[in-house]
Symmetry: C2
Amino acid sequence: MSIRDLARHLDISIGTVSRALNGKADVNAETRERVLEAAKRLGYVPNQSGRSLRQGTTNTIGFMIESTIETVDGGGSFFMPVFEGVQSVFRRHHLDLVALLCGTDEDPASYLNRVVARRFVDGLIISATARNDPRIDFLLERNIPFVALGRSATKGDYPWIDLDFEGVAATAVERLVGFGHRRIAIGTPASDLNLGYLFLDGYKRALAASGIDFDPGLVLPANGHEEGGYQVASALLAQKPMPTAIILVNENMAIGLYRRLYEAGIHPGRDIAVIGFRESTQSRFLSPTLTCFRISLRDLGIKLAEALLSTLPAFAGQYPPERVALIWPMELVPGESDRTVPGAGTAHASTSIPGS
Amino acid sequence: MSIRDLARHLDISIGTVSRALNGKADVNAETRERVLEAAKRLGYVPNQSGRSLRQGTTNTIGFMIESTIETVDGGGSFFMPVFEGVQSVFRRHHLDLVALLCGTDEDPASYLNRVVARRFVDGLIISATARNDPRIDFLLERNIPFVALGRSATKGDYPWIDLDFEGVAATAVERLVGFGHRRIAIGTPASDLNLGYLFLDGYKRALAASGIDFDPGLVLPANGHEEGGYQVASALLAQKPMPTAIILVNENMAIGLYRRLYEAGIHPGRDIAVIGFRESTQSRFLSPTLTCFRISLRDLGIKLAEALLSTLPAFAGQYPPERVALIWPMELVPGESDRTVPGAGTAHASTSIPGS
DNA sequence: ACTGTTATCGTAAACGTTTACGGAAGGCAT
DNA sequence: ATGCCTTCCGTAAACGTTTACGATAACAGT
């Protein structure tokens, strides 16, 4: 069922059929009607390869994610809502969205190379940007439209949207200081990911603003998984005196942290204050419920999509080109985990912990 | 940088270049060497659109996931390892894997229609199969190669791999009965998803085998999120006498359940036995750690890929056609949550729960 | 010298589109 | 009647590949 068949069937030239389908102006209203009707009736759908070959465009946008996403993503629940938002915009413009999975055994840059060289997509959304991300240089160099979810330290003018890690860390510190805390630890992945750097930066800045000296010993590096949180808790317990508060970069870490504290008979929310990041569906079901930060992920996706559209030549009319450089705000969601007064003593007699 | 440029640059015909690149036999070893070298040096990558147009094949496989995945997937961590496995197989055959995201506001069947009509992919992996899944009929009808992760009740001969929900439920029941439990509740999504049906089936079967009457009041329907678990716990607490054990279909539910039980002063693992499904990175960090079932997700992905390959015409030589219909086994991982003796009394004086 | 075989390569068609270009037909004013 | 504009449509080229087919040359065998 090609366009040729359709044309033969209608006894019209193939060019007219194409024009009718694509909404070109110079085609009679009645003929267009006939064409559209027949196309629907015969189930004709234009072949994407032919179209791409001719126009040099694929009407497809790729959202690239590594399978080792861990830091922000609470196990994957981060991306789905973002996808939703992106797709809601793209659908209106007849763009398809596919997720590009780069396996752990392949270099992200070479993967990207393959994707763009093959003319798979018209544009890209990349995420989990490293502090120095070769993909950005690559895309800039080849002039491929893209937008980055997460800024990097790379020079160059490109559109990006990033979460306000700095602000989150600062807000958390300010809140804890307001509660009277002075020894505030922070658990963050010692990573080349940019967010680790930013997170620490906000932490330091807020400490300084509160007149508290920065103590490198309170920075507890760990991966973003549950084990990481577990290790952070162990490091916490080893300190004397124990810090009275801890800020985490990732909710999975909170679960590991809770576990280790419970094993030691320390109750988060009573013996130590915990603020986590990012809110997930679990946050309010942990015991204690976790004070954390909410992100409107769907809106983030929408904004990402719009930012990309404004870099696509084909949409220059509708979305005037503008360099998006946006720091995405987040909202604190109070929980039970930071309701604690630092002077009340840290080494409570523990209540019995089931199973430990 | 098309194949034409490459040919001109080498002063060879364009046909020879193509043959050299594709490893055809009738090309001189030395010329092939020259072509390959020049291609690499000039960064030539064949244009996928042109190739697809000519061969009618895209070298791309789509893995379709709805964005509302909830039941099996602990927030997304289910798919990534599966993707890894699938991709590890596909890469060896120069197939690309893309994830197809069907938004919640679009009908999965119509989405699928668009994808295949456009000749986007050569084959498909679909997941989250409903008990009656129109996608399966659609794909069978059009003779599109695919494999389903999850069987449905649909008639027809198609390859599928499914988790052993029935076996899991039965194993859980047997284990609990072995510990002396008689009143065993089950929390499962009252869904049109096939897994809900299968799960309940295994539960009933194992009960019957143990000579325990099936009590419909012990089937507690709820969604697969934390709220669902929370509701299940509420329903549990409302029963007199309270069941001594509960089986859950999803780990997110376990977190909600724990929360509700803690609020009521009931300790899972001491006052009530809990068995969950599926193991995630969190399972051993909950308190009590969750008895659950482990799935080798990467291997599952590998098997899925091989099943698909054996249905692709282009690989009929290497992967002889065979109808895969596989029930994927799972392994019980003991935790602390089901270490309880049913006779020891259910309404312990609760220890203080922080934050409640 | 003729035929047959083999190795290697060039030629050209084909895949399904889109689109620049031109042509035909009609209407209107001069 | 001529010229001009508008509306509509057909023609054909082009996008980048792959591949069936034929051509050439070299070589061996008779």
